[in-house]
Symmetry: C2
Subunit: 142 residues, 2 copies
Amino acid sequence: MPARIFPTPQDAEAAFYEALERVDLELMMAVWSEDEEIVCVHPGGKRLCGQDQVRDSWRQIFAGGARARIHVTQQVAISGSIVAVHSVHENFYVPGERKPLQVVVATNVYLRTAAGWRMIAHHGSPAPGSAEPPPETPKILH
Amino acid sequence: MPARIFPTPQDAEAAFYEALERVDLELMMAVWSEDEEIVCVHPGGKRLCGQDQVRDSWRQIFAGGARARIHVTQQVAISGSIVAVHSVHENFYVPGERKPLQVVVATNVYLRTAAGWRMIAHHGSPAPGSAEPPPETPKILH
């Protein structure tokens, strides 16, 4: 199966959260740049660098098997022709619940590569308090 | 006094941590891009956007008056001609103590502007555990 190409940073971001919802390791790693210069910080976690550490971390997370719906809100996008920085709130919902189980603040950085846009950095941390304001329309500043 | 110009992302980063050590709000804000498209997440904090929120947060932090020495280690730098992403460990030392009081994992994003390199995003989160390995030589991948 040919690798997926993401024509925009937004496409890469959509695939990132699709992979997270589906606990799909291959799709997740297709989102990341194939270079070794990738950095990932999971909420409360240590800094991970390079393909091996990043893949292993997602493998462990996905092996846990927990599935959630993720609603991405409050996006601030700083978009250039080569690099895009997206700041988002990730709202994790357990099926049947109306309030998010967890809200994570994430900084996602994408790079335009020869194979389309790929993630080069993801930094997530728990948002303080769980009582989040209602989801907003995505906010695009650039 | 003319605004400081940072010829490289590394210069901007050095000034960022200098401002933090000196609790110097003007220097801190001289490091940040003057655009509204700036994003800052302090460790354990919510996502802040724009000049006003970012400046206010640093003003509050600096008003606390706590001073620490900061030793930046384990840098991974992904550097392009327009944007640079630095992942670092910030080791906060209280004078006289040999072990860091706090270790923060930070993702710093810099943009080359007409006025030199400026910070556009800072995301910090507490590193898990305080028993950190000894500082390494900075690791530059690009």
